[in-house]
Structures are given as C-alpha cells and as structure tokens.
Point group: C2
Chain length 322, copies 2
C-alpha cells in the first residue's frame, strides 16, 4: 500500500507538500500540485484515514446507541441520522444495546476507547455518570443532565392531543396503556399529558401500565380486558403496541374503531400499507434526527448550548382506528 512518502518520493517533493496538496491547506504551486497529483494517480495512493485519526487524536465517527435497530421507529431515525452525518463528513457506528443496562455501559466504555467524536443515545440508564470523558452526547427522549442535550418531541402535548382526539372520536372512558420507562424518560410525559387533559376536561380515564420487561403478556391483557371492560378508547405508547392491542382486542370480539377507538404514537412510515392504518401521534422523526445531529456536531465543534432540551412539535394523524 503506497504511503504519502512514496508519493513524495515519486513526485520529488517533501511529504509535507503532498499533505498540503491532499488537504488543500497552505499554498502550493500549480506545477507542484500537478506533479503530486500525477504521482498519486500513478501509485493509486489512498490517504490512510486511520493515520489521520491518530495524528488528529479524533475520529469522524459518531455512535448511535439504541435498544434495537429492528424497531421501525429507531430504524427510521437511524436513517436520517446517518444521512445528516454523512452530509457533514461524519460516519455512523451502530450499537444495539437490547435495552440492557450492562450492555449500554459496555458500549459506552468501548466508544470512549475508540475516541468517537460523539454519541447519540437512546438509553435506559442514566448514562451521565458512566461517561468519564467529556465526549459530547445528545440523548433522544431521555433527559439526564445539563451536560447531555436532550432532543425530544412534545410528549406532553402528544398525550393531551391523544386524549382530546379519543374524546372527539366519541370515547367516554379512554385508557392509557403502555410501558413507561422510569429513568428520566420523556415518554412519561405522554402519560401525564393524557392524564392532565382528562382531568381538565372532566373525563373519566384509566391508566394501565405495562411492566418492562413483561413476564406474562397474556395475563397483562386478560387483566386489562376483565378489569376495564368499559374502556372505549385506548392510547398506546407506541404504534407497535397499539397494533398489538388491536390484535388482542379483535380476538375477544372487540371491534376497532367500532367498540374501542385507538391512537398510537410514533407515526411509523413502513406500516403505511398495512391495516388497520393507525390513528397516531406522529413524531417528527426526520427533524428530530437532524436536530440531534446538528446539536451534536455543534458540541463537537466547541459550541456550547444554553438550552438542554430541544422539544419538537407532534401532529395528530388520522387513520382508521378512530
């Protein structure tokens, strides 16, 4: 593999000159540039990015740490994150934690060893305390500390919106169901928005949380249907969960939206052709992704931000379930 030295040798110049040609830094005589470029071509020289990273003591690598890329919301997010990073000349490293705290820690450790330029995290742990370096981190949907900027959608408003739409669709007793990640999660606000709005409107409501991880799914659903057979509206914490609920309901002969109106959360695109098309609170996935990257790269570039949470607006999208 040809190195910069070989190029310099063949072109009859010093390595520093070759470096300046490659990086367009400093002044180089056109004639010299030509010679160097000629040599580069002849030797089929490719700059060694590893050596560069080493010299610079930083890599243009950003890590995305999330539960699993196979969840459609995350994969959509990942797509836009990678796209935005690429525009800025950065690369993306993908880390599936499986939501396991110990795996999150393991990855964080590895990422620091690898001196990644920054991390976008969607984690279960409060990762602030477990990162010893001052590596920039942007978190999505989790608020940990001043240091870690959080990008989220307006979960509180999303919860309120869901409640209002369920009521508007005719629900007299709406229920909130789903997993509420306890640790610093913005997602909890979906519940509080829902609850607050119900109280404000004087509507009877139910909250039926799903343990995570769940031991006995059948029992969870059976109990819900038994205890709350008067529920006629359901707001689920995400689209997949909403679909799952509908599946269970229909097995019991409950029709959607006839007997029960259902609203999900996320607004996943890849489900567009499948039925029922969910009524859902759509998060601005693309905007969240690009915002997260912009904030991260800002931090990497040395900017500091006064704001520690960036909250983007959500939207109600009508489907076939309300």
């Amino acid at each position: 593999m040809a190195s910069i030295k070989d190029v310099a040798g063949l072109a009859g110049v010093a390595v520093g000159t070759v470096s300046r040609v490659i990086n367009h830094s400093g002044a180089v005589k056109p004639e010299t540039r030509r010679k160097v470029e000629e040599a580069i071509k002849r030797l089929n020289y490719i700059p060694n990015e590893i050596a560069r990273n080493f010299k610079m003591q930083k890599s243009k690598m950003v890590a995305l740490l999330l539960p699993t890329i196979s969840h459609p919301f995350f994969s959509e997010l990942a797509y836009y994150i990678e796209d935005e990073l690429d525009r800025e000349g950065y690369k993306l490293m993908l880390c599936n934690s499986g939501s396991k705290p110990e795996k999150e820690l393991y990855y964080l450790d590895m990422l620091q060893q690898n001196k990644v330029a920054g991390i976008v995290g969607i984690t279960y742990n409060d990762i602030d305390s477990s990162v010893s370096t001052d590596i920039p981190i942007v978190s999505i949907d989790r608020h940990f500390s001043k240091r870690i900027i959080c990008v989220t959608s307006d979960n509180y408003e999303g919860g309120r919106l869901a409640l209002r739409e369920l009521v508007r669709a005719g629900a007299k007793k709406p229920a909130f169901i789903g997993t509420v990640i306890p640790v610093s999660s913005e997602i909890m606000k979906r519940k509080s928005g829902f609850v607050q709005e119900a109280k404000a409107m004087g509507v009877d409501y139910v909250v039926y949380e799903k343990p995570d991880p769940i031991i006995d799914e059948d029992k969870y659903y059976n109990e819900f249907f038994m205890r709350h057979d008067d529920v006629d509206g359901v707001f689920a914490t995400n689209d997949m969960f909403a679909a799952q609920y509908i599946e269970r309901a229909s097995r019991r002969g409950i029709s959607v939206p006839g007997d029960v109106k259902v609203i999900g959360y996320d607004g996943i695109q890849s489900h567009a052709y499948f039925h029922p098309v969910l009524s859902t609170i759509r998060q601005p996935v693309e905007e969240m992704a690009r915002t997260a990257v912009k904030l991260l790269l800002g931090q990497i570039g040395g900017e500091s931000f006064h704001q520690d949470t960036y909250c983007l607006p959500v939207m109600y999208r009508q489907g076939e379930t309300t």
Copy 2:
C-alpha cells in the same frame, strides 16, 4: 488524557511492560502486573484504540452498505449482523446508499480510506471492479465474482414454492410482480423459479416487472389491472410491495384472498400485528446475517473459501392472503 507513558512512569516500568500487561502478551511478574494495574486505576487510563488501530494498520470495524436501514428487512438483518459482530469484538459502521450507484462508490472509497476490516454489502453496482484493495467483502443477495462471497436465500426455490402455493390456494393464473434488479442479482431467481415451476406444472402465468426507479406508480398499477384482469394470484418480490399491491387492489374492489391470492417475500417480523398478515416466503434473516458475518470474519482471519455462494433455505409461511 493519560497515556501508556504516564502509566509506565507512575508504575516505574517501561512502556513495553505496560503494553504486555494490558494485552496479556508475554510474561510479566505478578508483582509488576500489580503495580501497573494500580497505576492504570490511579490515572484512570483508557487504552487509545485509535493508536492501536494505527499501529496495527487495521481496525475492528466492519461496514454494512445497504440501500436504506429504514426498510424493515434490512433493519432486521442489520440487527443480527451487529449482534454477531459484537460477539466477535467487531464494530459496525452503517452506510445507507439510497440504492444510488454513485453513493455506493463514494462509500466504498471512504471505507477503503478508513481501512475497515471488511464490508457486508447489499448493492446495486457490481462493486468488485470498484474496490482496488483486497479488503474482504461479503455480499448479500448479489453474486458478482469469485472474490466476493455471496450469502443468499434459496430464491429459485422460493419462486417455485410461491407458484406452487398460489396454485394450491386455487389460483389459475398467477402473476409475478415486482422489481428485478438486473445487476447480478440473486433476486432474479425468484422470477425464474416462479416461471420454471409454472411451465413445469403447465400453469398459465404472467410476469409484470416494475421499473426501478419507478416514474409513474399509478400508471404501473392501472396498466396491470387493465391488462391482466384475469390474474387471480400474485407473487410479489417483497412483503412491502405485496402490501402495496393489496392496497391498490382493494381500492379497485378486488378482495384478497377472495378474488386474488397473494404471497410476499421476506417474512418481516415487525409486521406481525398488522393486517392482512401476509402469506409469504420467509427468508432466514438471522441465519443469513450470522452466516455473512462468520464468512467475513473468516476471510479477515485469512481463511479462504472454495465456495463462492452460500444459499440458505426458505420457508413458506401461511398468512391471511392465500
């Protein structure tokens, strides 16, 4: 940031010794090891992986180059690939090409500059000619050359299976629809399997390919429904496309599986709770992913393989559309 030198200084030994302690290479007296470990702890020393990569002239990074991670089949694949890589101490870099040839080339170039240890590719180009280094590559569903090992599912058998199942479900005139990536694609075999089996069984059939990229989707479907209104079975190149077809058909008052039986391809998990649950030819995603990684790491480790295509079995999965 503390370096190996600082550790050596504090422990009163040479850097080489510290290196041997860290890597458990060579002999180190227990007493010395203790001193070094003590120093490492005191300084909160983290080995600089970049420097290591540099010295070794290789990184433990494998790239996954695919059209888009937001497609559920690819995201499922990516999940298992990352999982398998992590087990072996490798990291995954994610590259979305958007199926654009120029972007594929751009990424391949970048990956070579970054001296990634290997590449798993799902590409549109014949990438063989555009990779100048001898970096190991495993391709999924594309067969280019001896050099690039191809991991695929049994697309030919999948096509035959689809035809047989459509006929078994009562179809008299089944159609193959979908995109047929021309370049060295294993996916073409889905078509040939379908066609061959139809001929073998003496069944009347239709092939209606979808251009890629498609200009006018409405026109494509309209023409299909006009020209082939006697078609009563559809085999689509993938699940998403099958769902899309069903959507279009139902808008025209065609019922599935009443009027037309439909079989998709892939067997995407994240659609399990949505309807109609597709009858589909399921690819062994997990096995494909793990096989691809194993072969790639084998190559990285210097093994050479006599076989250039690894074909895994597919399975018919009954849903609600046949």
